[in-house]
Amino acid sequence: MSMRVRRTPAVQQPQTSSRDSVHTPTGTKDGIIHPELKEISTEDRPDYLVGLGLGCFERNKEELASDLRGLSVSEGMRKLRAMPLSLVDKMKIRRRCFSPSAVKSLNRNFPCFNLPLVYISRMWRHSTFNALPFLSTLKLWHSSMKKLSGRYGTGVLSYFLFLRTLLFINLLLFFITCLFLVIPQAIHPPPMDSRLNSVTAIELLTGTGYLSQSLMFYGYYSNVTIETNQMSSHIAVTHMVPYCIPTAYFLTITVSFFITCIILVYSMSKSFGKSFQVLKSNRNLSENIFCSWDFKVSKKPSIRLQCEKISTQLKEQLSELTSREEEMSLMQRFGNLIVHVLAWITCLASILLSAMGVYFLSKHTVISEFKNLDLLITSAVVSGFNLLLPGIFNLCSWFEKHSSPSTRVYVSVFRNLLLKISLIGVLCYHWLGKIAVKQDRQVLECWENFVGQELYRLLLIDFIFTVLYTFLGEFIWRCFSKKVLKKNRKPVFDIARNVLELIYGQTLTWLGVLFSPLLPAVQIAKLFVLFYMKKSSLKLNCQASKKPWRATQMTTLFITLLWFPSFLGAAVCVVYTVWMIKPSSGCGPFRNLTSMFESGKLWAERMKDSHKILSWLIRAYNTVIDNPLFLFLPTCVFLLVIYFHAQIVDGQRKIIRRLEKQIENEVKDKKFLITQLQHWNEENKTDSTQR
């Protein structure tokens, strides 16, 4: 049977046995013979066909088929699928190895009593198999993302993927709080003395008035146990199902934070695993050549842009290589240092000034009892700083000369991050350190409500400012650059800055969940609108960046940033609030307790008496988790495991280097032996002709 194969012309030589080494010395280049050794060995590597220029001979196909016959059907199919043969060849091999009846009746060997189970499992497999592609197209924004990646490439796509991930995290958070907290309280509203029945637009913005006495904020939730009456069908006996709101509040927040923590750590480790390289060497140039072409991009102008990007990157790297030979003069280095120091001083000073400004402003807000729109001033100032200062940072970094483009990105990300951390840190210190502790009844009757409202306002104003900046700012910049600067250059979509904005918004949400359980809903709406807004602004105003963007490593960095300052910081604040701060006595579900954590302890006490399993759990908690020794031991074990793995990676690096050296030496040996062989052959020939 002649096989239609994709032959590469070089291996058209006759074969004697499959274990021969065939060497064909090719033409001499520079006087040295480069023998090409093609060993066709049929050892156990199933992808032995892969290792050469594909000459698929009958013999090899036979051995492949016999290999596959030894495996189970599904294993064999999987192996066959992973082989780089043409579909026609695969179908022929499949028919040769597996009889069609064996493939179709995979389950015929089951005994009779298993038959219903067999049918059910087969039906289940078929339905999931058919449903999966349908479900994957149901993935949110699937077609939009495909169009975006086609036009702008993988870097911009990573921003939108990050946005989608955040949306799902918020959906989960919202689902948990809604189910266990909002709905039970909504069904049994607490008695409120003065209810305002309408909500004005200003109140929607500031979160005061009607909203402050609604499900939105902490103050609405009652501290009672709701007793619902359930009539059972045949006897009119009321069946009490008590639902304790304070316990529910405490447990909901704890459990949702715990679940979010697990999700983030899991995605962080997965992402880190993808981007980790055992050998971090300077092979960037060949990697760029072989791996940088993005085949997803399909529009002609985007392809032209991609070519430009690659060309610029290559030229930069080449010039770097040549200039590495020339050392920078002392004066130049000194000048660079001065510029760096000045830039850093400017950035840090601006961050410090803005933080102090926000602190004094927020102190002033509480003291002088702002009303209505004046409440928005703090949030507006914070959002204003968030918009302006990154522009200053960009200007500073424009003057600086960095050693590589990725250093520039990391430095700008760090500065941006520092700004946001200091702003949020200052606000948190003010709320938790001053307001909550002072608890001045005349000024604030319900400080948790106030904090929740502040966070709500921050989130909303940030969103409004982003909308204004995206549409007006970029549009105006484009008009300005067209008319005044006479250049048709659109602004670049700054991926790092936009991702940090997302992380900032998410931090605010996590901080605010404790004080305002419906805040995730606001964040979900915001992310949803942001997606469409950024997409349309991208098309109208921006162009893709000309700088290369290593998507996987940047995604790892962003998820790490989402975990480390953002989530952990919010979790620490929430834990501190729950543990240490006395809740206000006039409102909320923890009215009469010394701390929110106490409600959890009271619940544990109550449960201990009624359920035996829970009492065992609680005893286990007290001995294991509360005891520092038992925390110390697992930590030690983890550290040992990490050290062990680091040593393994180190060892692997050394092995790789040695193997490379070995390959090089082997080729040198072969060359030497072949030249000797030819030399002796020639000598023999001359000897025999002479005789």
């Binding site: 590469t8 892969v50 092979r283 997803k296 060309s311 030229k315 080449l318 082997e666 080729v667």
Partner: protein, 190 residues
Amino acid sequence: MGTTASQLGKDSLSEYQELTFLTKQEILLAHKRFTELQNRDERNHLNATRVPMEKILTLPELKSNPFRKRICHVFSTSEAKDGSLTFEDFLDLLSAFSDSATLEIKSHYAFRIFDFDDDGTLDCGDLEKLVNCLTGETDDTRLTSEEMRQLISNILEESDIDKDGTVNLSEFQHVISRSPDFVSSFKIVL
């Protein structure tokens, strides 16, 4: 095999599903797009006819790709080496470029695509053509011959482990395995 005018038989559909990395949805979409490329009278004989390369290159996903001709040549099983594809060749193409294809498959086919002279290794001529495809056709993006020479010698220094002056498949796969972005960028989705 394909019996009625524009329908895939259930048997062949499941066979394609098992032997490629495509899902059923993707195979049906590929079938639809492929039959659109064929002439009207050829649509009944799905597997016997080949679509010429010029028609394949009208697909929007391939139209402007600088490697489009190489892709057609690599996946074509025609005797005449004209880059024409049958439906099964087309499925092979989409499978290698799909989401779930393994790194080995992708790197294997990437190597074949970049091997412009089809000799099983990437030598200086191949690398030069590759770089020219990557940097485009306009004059200001092309590298000068001096830069090209330096670039190629650097590439060979970095990736040619056995120092024979060419990059073979194993060395190519060694370089690729270190780049986490390769799998996501070597994708074409219809």
